[in-house]
Symmetry: C2
Subunit: 212 residues, 2 copies
């Protein structure tokens, strides 16, 4: 089946739809529709139908969506039927919080190893993991065929570590460092940037709550 | 000066431009242009010019932008000439990492108080703050006229805390809990969702690096 290529912004909304469908499953619901999904997500029903249309037809006209079926299809589209091993670089406060976060496992990701370059942190245990020397980074990535990494190192170290990750075979980097990484076009970077999100909100709050 | 209303997605890119301009200032640069900004950010030059056009004219045609001037204008547009006091709710691993994060202060935000409902955490010191009982939440918000909050509590507690924040006068919530909050239209919520970002990347990595 040949389909139009989905824009990145559409792909970025699929995890949101998946989360809502998981929530509906947990509520014991079996069917839904674009109107309900839209109302609960704050997105228009038309937008949701258009987004999903890039990936096929998931509902009968007027009958809405089968919750479990649509959820499973989104998991398939996002390649979440497998569990992705992920390396976490940086065992500071943020690395600790990420290593202990249970939401990854239930969502298709498994922290395979944690690294730091600080001798006082290497050997420490976080959750179920022993912090390893970052010198072992390439070896672990290649042995476990890791394609995704989480970067929780200081800004000044981020590009150097990213270069090593990419050279070792990583193709997706979730970057917590407040920098803009230079990577080859085949590598996808996503940024977690609380400052940018706060600044985004300040625009509206400072404009007197024009948040629509 | 009456201008067209900027779409939310445009507003969301302004912090990215601001970060890049801060980086250029740190590099000692005095002028730039949409081509350079675009190349370094992975956004087209035309997109950057269009985004900025919602807020006025910032460059002479062909002469590019004055780095400091454009940075200062973006700070003004985003209401960052003031420092926003922020309350942080949740003093777990993530709350610790956020409380110790130095990037907020330099970006227009100041953690004014940290709250938790766990008696074993209340009274503990994180960075320069003593964790306060969440019972004091409303009092502190009103006394310090806090409009922005960071929510770092477990999913099951998030909506209840959000309701209290909104009732006390908060108009922007940065939500780390993996939920979708129900808030009145005048309240802006931004989500920090590493799982969604990882899933977004998995789409491309699983498609064999079609990351363009």
């Amino acid at each position: 089946m040949t389909k139009r290529k989905a824009p990145d912004i559409v792909v970025g909304r699929l995890p949101l739809y998946l989360r809502m469908l998981n929530q509906l499953v947990a509520e014991g619901r079996s069917t839904t529709n674009s109107q309900e999904l839209g109302d609960r997500l704050g997105i228009s029903a038309a937008q949701i139908r258009k987004d999903l249309s890039y990936f096929g037809g998931f509902g009968k006209y007027g009958a809405g969506y089968d919750v479990m079926y649509l959820r499973d299809q989104l998991r398939r589209i996002l390649h979440l039927e497998q569990t992705w091993p992920v390396v976490l670089v940086g065992a500071g406060d943020l690395g600790h919080a990420l290593a202990n976060y249970r939401g990854f496992t239930t969502s298709g990701f498994d922290i395979a190893a944690i690294f730091d370059n600080d001798a006082t942190k290497v050997g420490a245990t976080i959750g179920q993991h022993e912090v390893q020397d970052v010198a072992r980074l390439e070896k672990v990535i290649q042995e476990q065929d890791v394609k995704i990494a989480i970067l929780a190192v200081p800004a000044h170290a981020a590009q150097t570590v990213a270069d090593r990750l990419v050279a070792a075979g990583v193709r997706g980097i979730l970057c917590y460092a407040p920098v803009i990484l230079k990577v080859p076009p085949e590598v996808k970077v996503q940024y977690i940037d609380p400052v940018a999100r706060l600044q985004h909100m300040a625009y509206y709050v400072g404009n007197g709550g024009d948040a629509a």
